[in-house]
Symmetry: C2
Subunit: 355 residues, 2 copies
């Protein structure tokens, strides 16, 4: 009897060890073993991150923003609900915001130093990892449409400047007069920034633009990420860039891996922030890599990148993302980020400030 008790005890110790070892490896591979629930779908958007404070917002302006955010998210959602693709959903959602003068994309885009508007956009789909991107266009009414066209109807991923517009013209993408993008508000912002710069300029090319107001003028982008009923992810981003932009500067919005990334194995991400830092940190791809290679959840990966890695470099901003199971995340390290989401249960969230 004693021998049996002892042997049983040895056996229990052994089993306890083995369980601990296999649960460690299970945790690592759990992401790849998780069932993709085909009935899950959803869409999340952002309209830009930055120093967005309630005390600076009139009630009517806040209402105006919320109305467009709601319209945008519902437009994309309806497409998904009806079995449409995540690509189509994010495109239509983004176009609502491009067409609204409230957001720094399409109409309402900020002005460059030379008082022009230069627009960038990118898109990526999670099944084939196909992508499209454009930078520095001046007459394309809906940049996201052109980015998609580059992806689907050209042998390339990224086109720029006049060449991108030539392609747009060949492909029947709607072109407008550059004055279409003008808004009084953004034009005044440019003059204001130019005045601030004249006082802030300290002849150090690298730090001449770090006052809060000038820093905030870098933010402002729209984007969306979605999962459709077919289990496919997609993400897109569109922007007018930064106020007082010089030298045909390109930010993160049209850079695959920085501003936009999608991979059915992990997630779809759209970024908004201080573009230079998002490029250096390869933000969107880094979130996916943390999930794929380190087994982090989308929440953990987004937090790691947005709350630790980007600030460690000195940058600000945020992302919205959705994983292959429909979990959605809005993560930002600024005072606010315009955002909205809708899940398969039809639950809608709309936000502006940090909660």
């Amino acid at each position: 009897m004693k021998k049996i008790k002892i042997l049983t005890f040895i056996l229990l110790v052994f089993i306890a060890c083995k369980d601990k070892m296999s649960s460690n490896s299970d945790k690592e591979t759990s992401n790849s073993h998780t069932m993709t629930q085909k009935n899950e779908f959803g869409i999340i958007l952002h309209g830009g991150a930055g120093t967005i404070l309630k005390e600076h917002m009139s009630d009517s302006l806040e209402l105006a923003y919320k109305e467009v955010l709601e319209m945008a998210i519902k437009t994309g959602y309806t497409i998904l609900e009806n079995g449409g693709t995540s690509l189509e959903a994010i495109a239509e959602t983004i176009k609502i915001m491009e067409d609204s003068p409230l957001f720094n994309a399409g109409k309402g885009a900020v002005f460059t130093h030379h008082e022009t508007n230069e627009l960038d956009a990118s898109v990526m789909v999670g099944n084939t990892q196909d992508a499209g991107a454009i930078s520095g266009v001046t007459r394309v009414k809906n940049p996201i449409d052109l980015a998609i066209k580059v992806m689907t109807d050209s042998p390339h991923v990224m086109l720029s400047g006049e060449g991108a517009e030539q392609f747009a013209s060949e492909q029947g993408i709607e072109l407008v007069d550059p004055s279409y993008f003008f808004t009084e508000n953004r034009f005044r912002s440019l003059q204001h920034i130019k005045d601030s710069e004249r006082t802030a300029l300290d002849h150090d090319g690298k730090t001449s633009s770090v006052t809060p107001e000038i820093k905030d003028s870098k933010f402002g982008t729209v984007g969306a990420a979605a999962l459709d009923k077919h289990g496919n992810l997609a993400a897109g981003t569109s922007t007018g860039g930064m106020t007082n932009k010089r030298w045909n500067r390109i930010g993160d919005a049209p850079i695959i891996g920085a501003g936009t990334y999608a991979n059915n194995a992990t997630c779809a991400v759209s970024s908004t922030g201080w573009g230079e830092f998002f490029i250096r940190a390869v933000v969107a791809h880094d979130i996916s890599a943390l999930m794929e290679y380190k087994g982090l959840s989308l929440e953990e990966a987004a937090r790691e990148v947005i709350q630790k890695k980007v600030p460690a470099l000195g940058g600000d901003g945020g992302i919205v993302a959705i994983d292959k199971n429909g979990h959605m995340v809005a993560e930002f390290n600024t005072a606010g980020m315009y955002r909205a989401s809708m899940n398969a249960q039809g639950e809608i969230t709309i936000g502006i400030y940090k909660e």
Copy 2:
């Protein structure tokens, strides 16, 4: 006595289990615990990957290539040996190849559809993860110099087109007449490709350019990666893009995370290949992420990306890279890749074809 034997046995089983569990976690973190050997340093370069076959190469041309590769690698090496920075080393190495008409960068750059030369370049340093990039310049003699200037003397990471050249002019970067870049060989290649395209064109925008010769015209970039005696990594890439380029297309060379990436925690990487696939696969950053998050060695990570992931998407090309301990890797899935390396022991390798 019997009880002692049994208890000893139980204890041994327990210790055996515990050792197995901790050796698993040791393996995962072993990369971060590896000592950075400060006396290790090295530099590796590439001059482009593609269908480079011995039967197509005359002895004299092969010798000409090897001479420039040797001069380039030794130039960078000497800087490192004398305690110079990895940034300076890769810059001087790359400039040797930019100035040589043999490589598709700087002089010797391929021609666009419109018979112009549009140059791209990027650079990144591993300590601060600062980066600089330019696309679509037409008069900058050494694009890598301008990319570095953007990094060190502007508040931005990426500039493009005329704006980038305006910045170059303001910064005293050497500008030349566009005709400087002309070489008879590359001009003839353009005419040849145009003729092939006329026969190969099947009105499908996406597949019109996949004959081997046309595919190969996409390759050709120069780049380098180095580790200096201070333990800092740096990488850079420079290119004339693809023959018969249209629409101001941007490839992977100026895209941080795709063509160039450096991070003192992992490695420095420079890519050369079918740019569109390298952008979609975020190649350079993916190699670093596999090392950092999955604990792969540089060799394993490079092989995973270049031999599996990029081909899985349908792409070709290669990379050169060096890790924080000075291990160097040249990985490519094409018939050849111009390459050279020199390590701390002064051992030099020069290669063209697959071994």
